[in-house]
């Protein structure tokens, strides 16, 4: 890594031109904190459902529709946010996302109609998440880190998002309990404004943009023609399906099976905590071993964990074992998938290409939440969905096997390597 002197802009040996204080460690720390706030805040919205629907006389469907809309806007908006960040720099996109996020939270607090809630919680917060989520932030970190440390860096910044998911939930619950849901939303809005100063650390010219003449359209076409990109996106879709199914339906499943609330909350806390460890560990492993092999192991471990969970008699111990294993593999897919996109296609359009794959993850999330509920309504139990989840893990592992991880940037005929 090159040292900087007196705030003079220097060309980093990787792919971002950095000035003075924006060292890779600062980029990593600030990127992790942006994800902590943005992904963590999003995790808390379920806590607002009971008090808001009760006070405002809304149905759960009104609340649920806005959150579903938010996920769609996030998934669809992220490739565009990624493309803008790749072309014009990430800092403005992240800062704009932070403003949209804060504005959305403030307007959520003052929404009295379903439509206003759709605009605030659905569209504005969804746009905020597009600008401040994994795609844009990991693109910057992926470019700032040297190739041999990229996977570990992505794991570490992903662990920031995981920590947010774990810690923001009790933070929001404490705010709601002490100050009420309206004030809690305003405090969360103020918290999300932290993203704006943090974004300044993620500024920097995308040097890869100037060493390769590949256009955005050509990059998307290249990725679309690469079978591995499709396999990676499909396996990422499986990840989305499984995680959202477990997140939404596990509590209901445990209640059905006669487990106590303490067992259920312990399981959710264990998933949250071990998700932090797992994100970083998967990033580290991806830097040391073949990323597709680590992904295959990850999905394989999930398949075994789910199978044992439904096959063995349910007890606190089997539940905690399942929660720890799922936590360790929860968001570990993110640094591995992002790292593999960077490894195959280079980092010039990393935010865009990862964000498109992430759209697959979000579609999987939607299907996981919906299919779980549908099958429960049709069959009266979750057994079919658990079996389907385990089978999907095997499919995801099989999808990763044929991915050609080799760098394609050197194969482009008329341009310099990105």
């Amino acid at each position: 890594m090159l040292a900087s002197r007196g705030g003079v802009a220097i060309t980093h040996p990787t792919n971002t031109q950095v000035a003075g204080w924006r060292t890779p460690a600062i980029v990593l720390a600030c990127g992790g904190m942006v994800l902590m706030v943005s992904i963590g805040t999003r995790q808390t919205f379920g806590l607002f459902l009971p008090p808001m629907t009760f006070d405002l006389g809304w149905s759960r469907e009104t609340f649920g529709f806005a959150i579903a809309l938010q996920n769609i806007v996030w998934g669809l908006g992220q490739p565009f946010a990624g493309a803008i960040a790749d072309k014009f720099g990430a800092a403005r996109v992240i800062a704009s996302g932070g403003i949209a996020y804060a504005l959305g939270l403030v307007l959520m607090a003052y929404s009295t109609t379903g439509l206003a809630f759709d605009v605030s919680a659905g569209i504005l917060v969804g746009l905020g998440l597009s600008g401040t989520g994994f795609g844009v932030v990991m693109g910057v970190v992926g470019r700032a880190a040297p190739a041999d440390k990229r996977s570990a860096a992505l794991g570490l910044v992903g662990a920031g998002g995981s920590f947010g998911q774990f810690a923001m939930l009790p933070y929001a619950q404490t705010l709601i309990s002490h100050f009420g849901w309206l004030s809690a939303l305003l405090v969360l809005a103020a918290t999300s404004l932290m993203i704006i100063p943090l974004a300044s650390a993620l500024a920097g010219r995308n040097v890869a943009a100037h060493t390769s003449d590949q256009s955005l359209t050509a990059a998307i076409r290249e990725a679309a023609a690469h079978k591995g990109y499709w396999f990676l996106t499909l396996s990422f879709m499986v990840c989305g399906f499984q995680t959202l199914f477990v997140m939404i339906h596990l509590p209901a499943y445990l209640v059905d099976q006669g487990m106590t609330p303490t067992d259920g909350m312990t399981a959710l806390a264990l998933i949250g905590f071990f998700n932090i460890v797992g994100s970083y560990a998967c990033g580290l492993l991806g830097g040391r071993y073949s990323k597709k092999k680590v992904l295959m192991w990850l999905y394989g471990v999930r398949a075994v964990a789910i199978t044992l969970f439904i096959a063995l008699p349910l007890s606190s111990y089997t539940l905690w074992g399942f929660a720890v294993t799922m936590g360790l593999t929860w968001l570990g897919t993110v640094p591995l998938t992002n790292g593999m996109v960077a490894q195959i296609f280079g980092v010039k359009y990393l935010s865009t290409l990862f964000s498109i794959a992430f759209l697959g993850h979000q579609i999987g999330s939607f299907l996981g939440a919906w299919y779980g509920g549908l099958m429960f309504d049709l069959t009266g139990s979750y057994t079919t969905v658990w079996i389907f989840c385990a089978a999907l893990s095997v499919v995801a592992a099989a999808l990763c096997a044929p991915i050609d991880e080799r760098d394609v940037t050197g194969l482009r005929p008329t341009e310099a390597k990105a």
Binding site: L47, P50, F163, F166, A167, L169, P170, Q173, T174, I176, S177, P251, A252, V255, P261, T262, G264, M265, T266, L268, A269, G272, F273
Partner: protein
Amino acid sequence: MIRQTHRPLLWIVLAALLAYVTYLSFKAYLGPDFLIGYANMFSC
């Protein structure tokens, strides 16, 4: 910039802070607010 000698201290402070936040989070997850919310999640 942080001096080389201060770096271990910074890591110790950060690790202690993270451990404290983790402890508070676990405690909150198993606190009455969350447990009551969890118990009522499917009955209202």
